[in-house]
Amino acid sequence: MSVSGSPIRARRLLIRLLTVACLVGAGFLMYRLGKEFEVIIDNGPVSVGGVRYEAMPYGTVRIDEDTKGFDMWADDRVIRKMVGKNHRLTVIVLNEDDDSVLKTVERDITLDFNPRAEMVSVSAIIAESGGILTPNPLYSGEPVFVPDAAPAPSTEEGAPDDIFSGMEP
């Protein structure tokens, strides 16, 4: 009994296209699940929407399920790595003298901003402000290269760049 090739070929093509689509979808899913962001958490005085918030004198900040957290004093600025887009920050304001809890604020954040250009403000979180992002004053928009192992030769003004300069062995 001969079987027509066309429906079989069509079915094979459909299965292959679906497989490729699944793989591409899996790639996007892995990207979303595994993307790591370096977020700057700033505890300095900040103005958000024309309102000024003072720095938290002393407290602890926890990210997601981390029970230990990290301590922050006024004007501290730390970088923390967060995997994925959605996180919960818990800021616990503490009394500097006896470590008693003065206030606890939880805030859900979505990392859909440029983490190099903007910082998360602890002061704004404690004040339960609508916006909690503040510009990073050190961000210039230009990439900052790490020096190579062998220093590149300096080029005189007007001379063509040496394409082999900076090449590592």
Binding site: Y31, K35, V83, D148, A152, M167
Partner: protein, 394 residues
């Protein structure tokens, strides 16, 4: 009669023993060498066992990827280095995008798949034009593609573009945004990339710590269970694949291409599929290897992949035409055992660790040469016996 029967049995056993020793001469030699070197090295049993667990997890996947081309009669696939390069490109991109952990490894594998498939297709097509000389052809092809890889990684990947399309301002560039990955001139990947987010991502997903020893000398052995689960899954895949139609086609092609062609098997297509599969699996194997190491030497990591994997497989008792899963694990264990104990054994014997390393290189690759020569000799002997049989000689 009884005496004759006994003589026949003794002859049978002796013959079987002789065949066993000849067939497994390479692993036996390595076991004897290791048995001599281990006490000299001074390493404790716990340390050696830990090293073996780590190295088996790191290297087994790569060596297992060699089994499919051997099944298809294409010999030892030196072209697996193409897959290693594809895996490394996946890792470069994933590191640039800061995708970490298991999702990062999976994404690197997904990115490497089309690249490895393309490279495997090219390799398979070239090997089809070099039937009977697959090994040397794939070896040279590896060098050729290595040149292309180095060009791409050195001039095409970057924040700034170096190459431009003539008569336009358009840059030929694979964009990378992380300046820590790129040389200070703006293009070209750095020599060494720290895979911080991916380091031990698979190994640490599920691990088991085995504690033992005495109160005076306790020891702890860490077993990366998740990596071994992946390796076990691959072994099961190979066992299943051998029973599928495609697997049987490959075996038929491996035994005799002419008869396979007469039976209606698309020989050239089957051979290409074997190489494509091996290349893709080598890409996954290289990703597993590098996540264990934690650092990627952009221009060197893939260089010795083929040589070491093939060396390990041959040391495990495999031949150019026949290899099994057991050969893989025995070979990896013995090969890497020599790696670990030789420098210290050399230092104890001769006074210099470097000489121990030379000794290891000499013995390891010398044994491979012996294995290849033995294989060629046995094949010639078999052909000669067949010819004598046809001529009716005793």
């Amino acid at each position: 009669m009884r005496t004759n029967d006994a003589a026949a049995r003794r002859y049978g056993f002796g013959d079987a023993l002789k065949n066993f020793l000849i067939s497994n001469s390479v692993p036996i030699i390595f076991i004897l060498l290791s048995a001599a070197a281990i006490p000299l090295s001074g390493f404790s049993a716990a340390y050696l066992i830990q090293e073996m667990f780590t190295r088996l997890a790191r290297n087994s996947f790569l060596v297992l990827s060699l089994l499919i081309p051997i099944m298809a009669g294409m010999g030892l696939n030196f072209g697996m280095v193409l897959g290693a390069m594809a895996g490394q490109i996946g890792l470069i991109l994933v590191t640039d995008w800061s995708v970490v952990g298991i999702p990062g490894l999976v994404l690197a594998s997904l990115i490497s798949m089309p690249i490895a498939a393309l490279l495997g297709y090219v390799c398979g097509s070239v090997l089809n034009r070099a039937k009977g000389r697959e090994m040397v052809t794939s070896y040279i092809l590896g060098f050729f593609v290595n040149g292309i890889y180095q060009f791409v990684v050195l001039y095409v990947i970057g924040i700034r573009g170096m190459l431009k399309i003539p008569f336009t301002n358009a840059e030929i560039r694979i964009p990378v945004t992380n300046p820590q990955l790129v040389l200070s001139r703006g293009y070209g990947v750095r020599n060494a990339i720290n895979l911080t987010g991916l380091r031990h991502a698979l190994d640490n997903a599920l691990q088991y710590d085995f504690h033992g020893g005495t109160a005076a000398a306790p020891f702890s052995i860490n077993v990366p269970l998740s990596t071994y689960i992946v390796i076990a899954a691959f072994c099961l895949f190979i066992l299943w694949f051998r029973r599928t139609k495609l697997g049987q086609d490959m075996r038929a092609v491996g035994q005799d291409m002419a008869i396979a062609d007469s039976s209606g098997i698309a020989v050239e297509r089957t051979r290409i599929i074997a190489i494509v599969m091996s290349t893709m699996l080598a890409a996954f194997g290289q990703i597993i290897f590098l996540q264990n190491i934690g650092t990627m030497n952009t221009y060197n990591s893939h260089d010795q992949t083929g040589m070491f994997s093939i060396a390990a497989l041959l040391i495990g008792g495999a031949t150019v035409s026949k290899a099994s899963i057991a050969n893989v694990f025995v070979g990896v264990a013995l090969f890497h055992l020599m790696f670990v104990v030789s420098p210290m054994a050399g230092k104890e014997l001769i006074g210099q660790a470097q000489l121990g390393e030379y000794f290891r290189v000499f013995v390891s690759y010398g044994i491979i040469a012996v294995a290849l020569v033995l294989h060629a000799w046995k094949r010639n002997q078999a052909r000669e016996r067949e010819r004598r049989g046809l001529r009716g000689e005793a």
